[in-house]
């Protein structure tokens, strides 16, 4: 069998059960998003490279699938939905149309293996809300994310919320030299309290400064944000105080939505992509090793493509949701087929047609005996067998 063909590295086939579960996931997400007023749009799989150029702050250029068309233009397989959707809304909508709520699904492609163990095709479904930067919008999008996880019946889930500017504003406030900022933010992100304590000693921080540094490695609820806000004020770090203040506003609306149990504030979070300018968040679910959703506010991205819109949004990684759905043994809806068989093909067709008319899902296979039919039904998702030309029917 040396001439068998396989999928390329990083790509995979999805067979019946998984495909059905994936379809179920997509349907659930779509119905939640519709309930929040998000309308479906589609953008092409292929875009000009410019849409994702380095200054947009999307996926690193070397992680994209690039190619050249006959006209000599540089194209990419979209590595990320957000810049493509930003391109679309800036093309068709004006200030007067705001706010605009869109949802879109499709595959994205990245060479980067860090995003998933090996997969290079990432199926995503997400929403984007274009409007005027407000914490109300942030909270709505976050709430839609929480409702989606609940609609999928997933237990043990959490959405962590941070602010894209918080860590860099903190380093500004603590006057960390520019060449050390990368290392600091890495250690804050990985909650390496020990190494930060050492830095604290080296820098001879004041009590408030040291408290602030340890606060950003913690995660918690409103009280953590209030503490951060007060500390920032005392340190006269206005930008930092503003970041905490914004998160406090988001929390205020999340309380109105009654989803504060499902979220956790994590001030030390690092933005995954550099176009994020405000709130950032990730969703974690028991059973998926990596975050199942990723999103945030990205106000500057649309200014770059000639729009004055602000925006917030997120995407679910469907493959990771599928992993969690399987790990948590969530019951997804599966089709149940009826197997119609019998010695006379004509009669098989007539019976099958009649059942299809009534809306049944039918597989018609003439010529099976009872034993063959039972075996086939058991391995092909058939809940019922109809033997034509015999008295009565046989339930599988």
């Amino acid at each position: 069998m040396s001439d068998q063909l396989y999928t390329p590295y990083g790509f995979r086939d999805i067979l019946f059960d998984e495909a059905a579960a994936l379809g179920w996931i997509q349907e659930k997400l779509r119905s939640v998003f519709a309930r929040f007023g998000y309308r479906h749009v589609e953008t092409p799989l292929v875009e000009y490279l410019d849409v994702f150029s380095a200054e947009r702050g999307s996926v690193a250029p070397r992680d994209m699938y690039k190619f050249i068309d006959r006209e000599g233009d540089l194209l990419v397989l979209r590595p990320d939905m957000t810049p493509a959707l930003a391109r679309m809304v800036s093309l068709y909508f004006r200030e007067a149309d705001l706010p605009i709520r869109v949802t879109s699904s499709g595959s994205t492609f990245r060479y980067n293996s860090r995003y998933s163990a090996k997969q290079r095709q990432l199926r995503q479904t997400g929403i984007e809300l274009y409007g005027h930067a407000s914490s109300f919008e942030d909270a709505e999008v976050l709430c839609a994310a929480v409702h989606s996880l609940k609609a999928l019946n997933l237990s043990d889930h959490r959405i962590t919320i941070g602010h894209a500017r918080l860590v860099s504003d903190l380093m500004q406030a603590l006057k960390v030299p520019a060449d050390q900022q990368d290392e600091w933010s890495r250690e804050i992100e990985s909650k390496n309290v020990f190494s930060l304590e050492q830095k604290d000693m080296q820098c001879a921080f004041t009590e408030d400064q040291a408290k602030m540094l340890s606060l950003v490695t913690e995660a918690g609820d409103r009280s953590l944000l209030t503490e951060g806000y007060d500390l920032a004020k005392r340190l006269q770090a206005e930008e930092l105080a503003k970041d905490f203040g914004w998160l406090l506003e988001v929390d205020y609306y999340l309380q109105a939505y009654q989803v504060q149990e499902d979220v956790l504030f994590d001030p030390g979070m690092k933005p995954e992509l550099t176009y994020y300018t405000g709130v950032i968040f990730k969703g974690y679910v028991l059973g998926a090793a990596e975050p199942v959703l990723d999103g945030g506010r990205y106000d500057a991205l649309l200014y770059q493509v000639g729009s004055s819109f602000d925006a917030v949004g997120f995407g679910f990684y469907e493959d990771r949701l599928l992993e969690a759905v399987k790990a948590q043994k969530i019951v997804t809806e599966q089709e149940a087929f009826t197997l119609v068989t019998g010695a006379d093909p004509g009669q098989v067709i007539r019976t099958a047609d009649c059942l299809r008319e009534k809306g049944e899902l039918v597989m018609a296979i003439p010529g099976l005996d009872q034993q063959q039919a039972e075996h086939y039904a058991a391995t092909h998702q058939c809940a019922r067998i109809v033997m034509t030309g015999q008295e009565g029917q046989v339930e599988a």
């Binding site: 043990d156 974690y284 090793a289």
Partner: protein, 209 residues
Amino acid sequence: MSGLTIALTKGRLASRTMSLLENIGIHCEEMYTDTRKLVLEDEGAGVKFFLAKAGDVPTYVEYGAADLGVVGKDVLLEEKKDIYEVLDLKFGKCRMAVAGFPEGKQLLRSGADFKVATKYPEIAREYFLKRHQMPEILKLGGSIELAPIVGLADVIVDIVETGSTLKENGLVVLDTVCPVSARLVVNKASMKIRHEEISDLIRRIGSSL
């Protein structure tokens, strides 16, 4: 909700970790018997344990097969997994060092080409890259000290505890790469989903140190 799972590094780190956990009321008598079971449990505290090879602990934790793990900083630096490193447990202390014959010091400074033998190619590569050197790095499985003695490599990058093996073979430490000790690591998703339980455990372990 099921209990937490902890991955321990086989050997001395495991017994040190167990005595640390006993201080905060987590026991596992089975660990001291010659059981063949791979996963052990303290049912009262709702904690499961398993032993793994040092290099594998970060992988178990990254993929969430264990919520927490105890492993040396050397392994974390080498494996570079996407996990939280939350506590220095302050045992298993030693250092990562560059070692070789005394004349190696000249060689490291000279800018001449040389060979490095190590179990930690990633740490070695980064160390020399910072010094703008790109020596050939040979990955070995063990007995690294042998390499300079039989002429396979000029210097080695390895863990040094007391330095007695080096001394007996006429080798010396040429430079320290970084100090090493056992660290408590946490799976990123677990840290969020089970934030309260895990922060509580970290606090208890931290204050018992």
